[in-house]
Symmetry: C2
């Protein structure tokens, strides 16, 4: 039972009149949505006007951490940032680690809801419950590292942690992100929402540790988790040393590392150029999030050549794809530089890279000419052009003003059949995994509430051969509906709500996921939940997100793939011949909807809503 | 009398065996050398082996602040960094403000002496007297902003202040500098000395305020200074708003703003391109040093074009010259970007720019070809080439490996009569003031113990028409010897020892300089000195520095100018027709040596040394 040990508070900030008020986290909210993205989605669904423009002042931007954040549980300094997305017009949720999330919790808050729009550029400084609105007039146009430094200096305490936007967010670029330290709440254009509110940054400082409800139970649960982590033969021995770039080699081997805007998967072996060994040579340090003993982020530095001096906490696997394989760039220093440049301007590396890759394919096919690109030779592999294009995207300069809108809208503007090469789902650019050779990954891309988002229901079973909850064949269609529901629900509650870092889950940790989360949450907050109740929270949130998207006009027809994936098989490599036909997709969707208790059109049934206690929520 | 209120301590760090010990500041040392550069020069003279290579492990690198630092007196967070210079082989002293100096004092030290050489890349963390040696292996090659951030993160307290080198210092580039925050101890290549010791950074943290010996006297002296500052019609009304770029307009008007490697002074009016109004439009913020109410540093940010996103705390006047007029570049965004790039790589903007300007003149004269420059079109005004050359200098790439050595050595390597265009004195590149039209400036360039260094005896009388100690005619030769001695001694003790920011002195504040310093020091430390004794400390230090340089082989023949200044008059503008002939120089030197009590060869006489209590110091 909920014991009242739960210490969370909600801070509601209205930028229009520079006011802030605190609200309590009710037991009902905590039991039904746990925290993190659960809280955020519930509030956005309840409070946003259907059909609202994402850049309308009445859209809301929510930062939310979870009940485990800052309690000392490993790998819990994670936050959800959520809003209606200006890139997809669907539910936009992006996630980031770093130090900001733990500091936000210590400053006193589980959730910060940003409403309204400041008259002038503003930043908000929060210290132990004290909220100040400060002018950001002098921070206009600043890149993100400088922004963080200047705010810390102005607040006379460099131990503040700052989440901010760069010039791209200020300029309402639809692929703008939010940066804290060198972590990005990268996708879905939430930086533009922040920019539309004239909010340059949020700075948080706190030293309070959340109270622990049941110290003995909490200690036991923590120790169990830490032991499981220590016993993993992947986590410390491999992942801690190599981080996500591990997956470059893995996916290349599997023939599902997408290359050149998905036109050449399997045809080129990129492992030598920017796989693990190549990246290893450039690692100079590890970077950790708060309360993380793993430190998966491998800091890389370029020591010579045109990009000497560029350092990035990465590039992570997905950036190695988007600024590397997707654009045919194998020169690792350019990928590192591009990664840092995106962070500094505040644009999403994934959407930016994939959109440039899209333009490169159009250029090579003659659909775009040098005149269209303002003189840039946008050929695959031209890393100078890629780097220059990143700047033009961030500043909406020339052709950059088209590409900055992402592949979907860019294709609409360019026309001439370019839609065929626009690699997105629901307006969100595709991640690296070529799902023609990993079908559960595919179904998740098609159905995730944020668009083509590998992280909302990552099918680690297909990539790492982990048999949780069961063994899977990555090429098979059958069974993927049920699996995807499981992946999405478990991941949602464990990683995006509690929150335990998703990278642990990918390695099967801590298993059984929902029971471990239940034990930790019970110890920390005194709120007792069964394993099944925990999993159901994930299901509930996915349903609310589905209702939100349905209200915005999304239907079964949006749960789909770019044409290429359904008509062109992978040409070479270990997944040669694979595709996901329309029939395959339909079969998977039918199974998925059935597993979810949704109707054939993908709408939650009244029975399912009732089961989840959601009947009254569907206000459409 | 010295009351014992003086709280200073010296920290002596031996990197070779990773040991540190504390020494007290004796009354004798304080009375004779006050602090700051006085301490540093005295110790270097006493402890360095004559003729030592600047990059030998037995060279020493000293950081020194003064008795007023961190006491709360305005504008005293200044430090001297001193060593034998690898660029000039003379006494190398460079100065920086920011927050590091005040923090170093609060951490407990007036002076940190770095000896020996660490076996592996190391940084030193000092917190309240606790000294730790930490591996900097993972910081190798990092630019300076990233270095500072990573150290703060690693030490788990972002309120540390860090002085560090960039890739250039690590690579022993002779024009490498030392950066704290965005402040540079810029000149004389001291970053290379730090690099030669395998010392990537020093981090300091302290909260102790120095004890004040006589609170009433101290308060009175501080208030007098603050009143004088408030009453100035320049300091707050103008300088606080515009900072040093004020002088772009001023010197242009006077026809002494050097242009295109000193080949075109007066011929071009640069005020429109990068004068005050142009710079004003790009100011987004002010930056302050600790304990400074003025904030002269105008933060500028590029908002569009190829350098969008670049921000610098500057460019200061001298950088506007070195990366602007000296290289014929009028595009302000390129100057801002160049300024930041130099800070990040850790190279001196002044030496770098002037050396590139030198190479540009050679290129335009056909002495250098595109083959020599590895394909770079090194023409005046080509800012892309300038920016690229900065990188090649920092990384010693191709032709950059020659230019990184500064004009003097580059000219020796290039030969072909290039020496004629090498604008340096004693190996240090000339500052912006075209001294043909400001003769006391010229004499100071020729005689300053660090080489062509405007800041060691800045003739503010010639620039701002201030009649302290007397009215001067900037074109006149007569009287400049006496004036230069006065300027050098007063500036040395007041600005470089006590230390009060030199920019105040330039505006006649706080006057009478030595009496004000005496009052402040008496209040803070209890050490009573007369105005004359204070001024004599400045004289003493200049004499010790002269002895040091004499011991290294410098003689009267080194107190000279590049040939151009003595043979080519300024061609146009308000100083047209002016030059400093050999006869002019000789007349000024004779007067200067006489005023100093030095013989005709510029050596301190035994009588002068005795008067200054230095007889035993001349160990030659």
């Amino acid at each position: 039972m909920y014991s009242g040990g739960y210490m969370g508070k909600i801070l509601r900030i209205d930028l229009s009149n520079q006011s802030a008020k605190e609200e309590v986290v009710s037991e009902e909210l905590a039991r039904n949505y746990l925290g993190g993205v659960g809280f955020a989605i519930k509030y956005l669904y309840d409070e946003l006007r259907p059909g609202i423009s994402a850049l309308d002042k009445d859209n809301k931007l929510i930062f939310a951490v979870g009940p485990l954040t800052a309690t000392g549980v490993s790998c819990t300094s994670r936050m959800a940032v959520a809003s209606k997305s200006p890139l997809t017009n669907a539910m936009g949720a992006a996630f980031a680690g770093g130090y900001f999330p733990a500091e936000m919790k210590r400053a006193g808050y589980d959730m910060i809801i940003i409403e309204g729009k400041a008259e002038k550029p503003t930043y908000v400084a929060i210290k132990e419950g004290d909220v100040r609105f400060r002018s950001a007039e002098k921070l206009k146009g600043m890149i993100t590292t400088d922004t963080q430094l200047f705010i810390k200096e102005e607040l006379k305490d460099h131990n503040y942690r700052v989440a901010c936007i760069g010039p791209a967010g200020e300029g309402l670029v639809p692929i703008a992100c939010i940066i804290n330290e060198r972590r990005a709440a990268g996708r879905k254009g939430l930086g533009a929402v922040m920019g539309s509110k004239n909010l340059k940054a949020i700075a948080v400082r706190g030293v309070k540790k959340p109270a622990i409800a049941d110290a003995a139970k909490f200690k036991e649960a923590r120790q169990a988790m830490n032991w499981a982590m220590k016993e993993s033969d992947v986590l410390y021995p491999k992942f801690s040393k190599a981080g996500t770039p591990m997956v470059v080699d893995k996916t290349s081997e599997m023939g599902i590392y997408s290359i050149k805007n998905w036109s050449a998967t399997g045809e080129i072996d990129l492992v030598k150029e920017h796989g693990l060994d190549a990246q290893d040579a450039m690692i100079i340090n590890k970077a950790y999030c708060a309360d993380c003993p793993v430190g998966c982020s491998q800091v890389k530095l370029v020591n010579e050549g045109p990009f000497a001096g560029f350092l990035s906490e990465g590039p992570e696997f997905e950036t190695t794809y988007s600024l590397g394989s997707a654009v045919g760039v194998t020169y690792l220093p350019a990928i590192i530089a591009g990664d840092r440049i995106c962070d500094e301007y505040g644009i999403d590396t994934m959407s930016a890279g994939v959109t440039i890759g899209f333009a490169m394919e159009l250029y090579e096919r003659g659909i775009l000419t040098k005149q269209d690109t303002d003189g840039l030779e946008l050929k695959f592999g031209n890393y100078e052009a890629m780097i220059e294009m990143l700047r033009r995207i961030a500043y909406k300069e020339g052709f950059g003003a088209i590409l900055c809108q992402g592949t979907k809208k860019a294709a609409e503007i360019i026309g001439k059949g370019s839609e065929k090469y626009a690699m997105h789902i629901k307006g969100l650019e595709l991640p690296a995994y070529d799902v023609r050779g990993a079908k559960a990954h595919g179904l998740n891309y098609a159905t995730a509430y944020t668009g083509a988002d590998h992280n909302r229901g990552y099918a680690f079973q297909e990539i790492f051969g982990i048999s949780i909850p069961e063994e899977v064949d990555r090429f098979a269609i059958k069974g993927k509906g049920k699996l995807t529901k499981w992946n999405q629900d478990v991941r949602c509650v464990v990683c995006d709500c509690s929150p335990i870092c998703a990278f642990l889950l990918d390695m099967g940790l801590p298993e059984p996921f929902c029971q471990c989360a239940a034990d930790l949450v019970a110890g920390a907050t005194g709120m007792s939940l069964t394993e099944g109740e925990v999993q159901q929270i994930g299901e509930r949130i996915n349903n609310v997100a589905r209702l939100f998207n349905g209200r915005e006009g999304f239907t079964r027809k949006d749960d789909t793939f770019p044409e290429r994936l359904m008509t062109e098989p992978i040409k070479a490599g270990a997944s040669a011949g694979q595709l996901i036909s329309q029939a395959d997709l339909d079969e998977m969707l039918d199974e998925y909807y059935a597993a979810r208790g949704w109707d054939k059109d993908g709408n939650p049934t009244p029975a399912k809503l009732k089961e989840l206690g959601l009947a009254m929520h569907n206000r459409r």
